[in-house]
Symmetry: C2
Subunit: 267 residues, 2 copies
């Protein structure tokens, strides 16, 4: 489920559009159609497709929402509109609400990462789950929060923690997606090449060291063993491919030839 | 370092603006001043303040960048402009580049979460680290990628993986911030209240069960023990506070009174 371009055109029709069940994203009284569109884009980035909109200020669906979604039309096409939060959550079993830390409420509060892990388990158990997002400026109202089982707070810079709507949706969706993603944390992209065998690498070491002996670079007999070890570690660290070993052989050979010819010229 | 509002006004001057050293964010040939502003906002959300801009298309700094940053002026004020990527990275020790999976390059590739963990260790060791982001449409050029030690790819919906510039910056910054954040994954926000003691809870159980015995709700002697256990588990699960126990005592008392008076009326 690796998915790369961080910029560039939105849809790659050669790759599958993920459509597994996920949490419903519920935007409560969004102010701008554009923000519904950018939220839809963030949803589809994270393979979320079920959008609900409660009392949008702008007429919905809206051409500006489609335009701002950069191709996430499928999310807006399928979006459902509701007049109240209770109607929008009626068929769900679990509801999370994104919010500031509540000052006058006794309520469970989770991080987005924890919410993602919980939602994965709930949805795998056949439950239907939704996440409420409040209006751009004010956030969710105090009367909406008791309708949620659990609040989600995003740990961010305490002095500058406000996210726009699409970015809040992206953080929740991103954690949802990562919670089931199996991309290796670190890998060496090899494409169609293969790593060099150790024999190929050792042959290159022998070639390089022979030429360095001849050029005089390794003439200090006392230091030679540690210098050889250090040089070998440089190339060992590069995790070379078969083809790259050939390239390095060519570089060493040409540099050595040049030195020989240079000497000839200087003679 | 908990930071809640996910919408609402940007800056909370009563809370500290985090300023610890972090990776330098380097925007290469950004097309729109607005995108520099929204990237600056995402940076400050994540306590990142060092921005570099290489060959921006729009004049920089720019009023539209300030406006789009929603108050992250400090990031734009301090931003530095460069003519080339080599100049922009010259003083750094480690460079990451956000990109699609490269098709013709043999290169280490990490997830944002892995990159964040590595950058935390590098910066703690006194190294200076930067992250390259390409232009909105095209991404980084092939000649820029070999200037980076390591590529970062965001695992997202393979069929719809393109993020806008600010959202790519947000994902990297978010993971950077989470990597050192100590917010408990799940907590019950208690504000100024305290959990009920078990004695308070047991007193409430006794009150409730006494009234349920009197009302006849628990009259089935065979089922009574399991009914009592189930009812106790409902209230146990709610993790009640001292004050909430008082409220529940009041509710039970008033309901029981109403029943008595009701009976009187019906008599």
């Amino acid at each position: 489920m690796y998915a790369p371009p961080m910029s560039g055109s939105g849809t790659d029709s050669t790759r599958p559009l993920a459509t597994e069940p996920g949490p419903v994203i519920i935007l409560v009284e969004p102010q701008l159609a554009e923000n519904i569109g950018t939220a839809a884009r963030a949803m589809l980035n994270c393979a979320l497709t079920e959008l609900r909109v409660v009392r949008p200020r702008d007429l919905f669906p809206n051409p500006r929402a489609y335009s701002a979604s950069s191709g996430a039309d499928i999310v807006i096409d399928r979006a459902r509109q509701f007049r109240t939060v209770p109607e929008a959550i009626a068929d769900l079993h679990r509801v999370y609400a994104t919010t500031a830390r509540p000052r006058h409420m006794i309520k469970p509060l989770v991080t987005p990462r924890q919410a993602a892990a919980e939602m994965r388990a709930q949805i795998a158990a056949g439950e239907r789950v939704g996440v409420l997002f409040g209006p751009e400026r004010a956030g969710l109202e105090n009367d909406d929060l008791p309708l949620a089982d659990t609040l989600i707070g995003v740990p961010l810079n305490p002095g500058f923690s406000s996210l726009n709507l699409a970015q809040a949706v992206l953080i929740i969706g991103y954690e949802w997606y990562q919670a089931a993603d199996t991309t290796p944390p670190r890998e060496l992209v090899m494409n169609d090449t293969r790593p060099a065998t150790k024999e190929e690498l050792l042959n290159f070491f022998a070639h390089l060291e022979r030429e360095c002996d001849e050029s005089g670079f390794l003439r200090n007999a006392e230091k030679r063993p540690s210098m050889v070890r250090n040089i070998r570690n440089i190339f060992q660290r590069a995790a070379l491919t078969h083809q790259e070993i050939q390239t390095l052989h060519g570089i060493v050979k040409d540099l050595a030839n040049k030195r020989v010819h240079g000497k000839h010229r200087r003679d």
